[in-house]
């Protein structure tokens, strides 16, 4: 179904609001996307009219709530092209999903002296859980570096993997560099050495169609709120062979089969990893969110506009002597731009642009090791979503120029 960009924008009430009397130009989509009406309406309806705890009771409302929740699982399975619904575990977000793997996979497979590989370009959420695991197990964290243009140094991966490597954790797209990493190739290299791969898809799932069977990754994690769904929704995809072999992460609620003081047995997948009351009012909002994503991907006008924004902003930022853009590999670039301005502090720029109605991110963007690697104390980030327009991109560039002139 083809939609015009105007129609798509009209589904997101926040996009027509003003800030400080100016139209809001929302370019902080990598932090969280705006919510469409369909998501908010469903969330509200489930909360107000179909609220009952799932899986347990026999009454009518409980059946409705359980159906909505489990249908969302089926929809995610289709969206990621997973081979079975057992491989889809609901979490509170990508961070929780990665922590789950770091804990449970770590319990089962990581021992003293073993090695975990992460990358310089990862978000803290894909670094710190592994550091905690390494501390717990006296394992060693190894780091894959980036090349000058921001692309992961894939050629070094093979050398970095050793007999002791237990897992490789990478991001599909860095939240700072805005480059699509060669995940498929990295999975192939790792698997050749017998090592599984976790992919942090928090940014990736938003910008790229994901087929976990084609990627052949072992785990894929993402957050719903960056994908237009409700906050507090998230997904862990895990290959069944791993999820089966991993112990539960948390205990209690629907994750059990039988509980005796002599010993407790666990529920089958995926409930084994869904302890406690689940976010059942919110999780079904993944369905309208994913439908919208699919519609936007299939929409020629939206895709053309995204390409135009990418071309325009990339050209303007790389062509400006005052600006340093990080993550410049054009072929892998998505419309997510982190940059510094010579002689101007990123916070000053963000503050001025805010007053011009432009929402963007400044600071370290939860990637301090990457900031150190780039030799900066922080950057400014403009991240576009398919509902952004070329006109907004032009206003951003014009405003940035004005802000730089105020400061430098």
């Amino acid at each position: 179904m083809a939609m015009s960009l105007t129609e798509i924008r009209s589904q997101f009430p926040a996009l027509s609001r003003t800030v400080y009397g100016k139209p809001l130009v929302y370019l902080d989509n990598a932090a969280t996307a705006q919510r469409p009406q369909a998501v908010a309406s469903l969330w509200q309806r489930l909360s107000l009219e179909e609220n009952a705890n799932i899986h347990r009771a026999v009454h009518h409302l409980a059946a409705l709530a359980t159906d909505a929740y489990e249908q969302a699982r089926d929809a995610v399975k289709e969206f990621l092209n997973a081979s079975s619904r057992e491989e889809i575990v609901f979490t509170s977000g990508a961070t929780a999903a990665i922590n789950l793997v770091a804990f449970s996979f770590g319990e089962a497979f990581v021992h003293e002296g073993d090695e975990i590989i992460v990358t310089t370009a990862d978000h803290h959420s894909n670094i710190v859980p592994w550091q905690l695991l390494c501390e717990r197990k006296k394992a060693v964290l190894k780091v894959l570096d980036i090349r000058e243009n921001g692309v992961l140094a894939v050629e070094s991966l093979e050398k970095l993997i050793s007999q002791r490597t237990r897992i490789v954790a990478i991001s599909h797209i860095s939240n700072v560099l805005g480059l699509v990493n060669p995940v498929q190739e990295m999975v192939r290299i790792s698997h050749k050495m017998g090592v599984p791969v976790l992919v942090d898809g928090a940014q990736g799932v938003v910008h790229e169609p994901v087929d976990v069977q084609a990627l052949d990754c072992d785990f894929y994690a993402f957050s719903g709120h960056k994908l237009y769904a409700a906050t507090g929704t998230g997904v862990l995809y895990g290959k069944k062979k791993w999820l089966d072999a991993m112990p539960p992460y948390m205990g209690g609620g629907e994750m059990i089969a039988t509980v005796r003081f002599s010993g407790t047995t666990y529920a089958p997948l995926p409930e084994k990893f869904e302890a406690g009351t689940q976010n059942f009012n919110a999780m079904p909002t993944l369905v309208p969110a994913m439908e919208l994503v699919k519609a936007m991907r299939a929409d020629a006008e939206v895709q053309k506009e995204q390409e135009a924004i990418l071309d325009y902003v990339y050209e303007k930022l790389t062509g400006d002597d005052r600006v340093v853009l990080y993550g410049t590999e054009r072929a892998a670039k998505i419309p997510l731009f982190s940059f510094g301005v010579k002689g101007a502090h990123h916070e000053d720029l963000a503050l001025i642009l805010d007053k011009m109605g432009i929402a963007l991110r400044s600071g370290q963007m939860c990637a301090e090791p990457l900031m150190d690697r780039l030799g900066v104390t922080g950057l400014l980030r403009a991240s576009f979503a398919p509902y952004n327009t070329l006109q907004e991109a032009e206003y951003f560039i014009k405003s940035l120029d004005k802000a730089i002139n105020m400061l430098v």
């Binding site: 101007a344 502090h345 916070e347 000053d348």
Partner: protein
Amino acid sequence: MTLEEKKQQIIEDFSLYDEWLDKYEYLIELGKALEAFPEEKKTEERLIKGCQSRVWLDHELRDGKLYFSADSDAIITKGIISLLISVYSGRTPQEIAADDFGFVAEIGLKENLSPTRANGLVSMIDTIKKVAENGR
């Protein structure tokens, strides 16, 4: 100019601008005009904790009055500390310690900063107050 007169002057200066962008422009000018701060004074002890951008504050007591100097790597923050210095430098510790810093709220500065910067502003004020209390 007395402390009260100086605060009144700043409130009036700020009221000249309707738009926050113009107020920022004014703060940027103040920041640029701030006296140069020697590199060797940019030490860990002079760094104000709680600011996202780095702010250094130094002080000396001369003839019973406190004199402040400062620097920051962000220009609007530098403008803010410059504004505070212009009000409180050359006052007695007693006078500063007894002040409620209410003019900051009156010009709407705190409300118009990002939360991280607003915290930084509070830290700057706290540091100036502490210096004054220790100097009494």
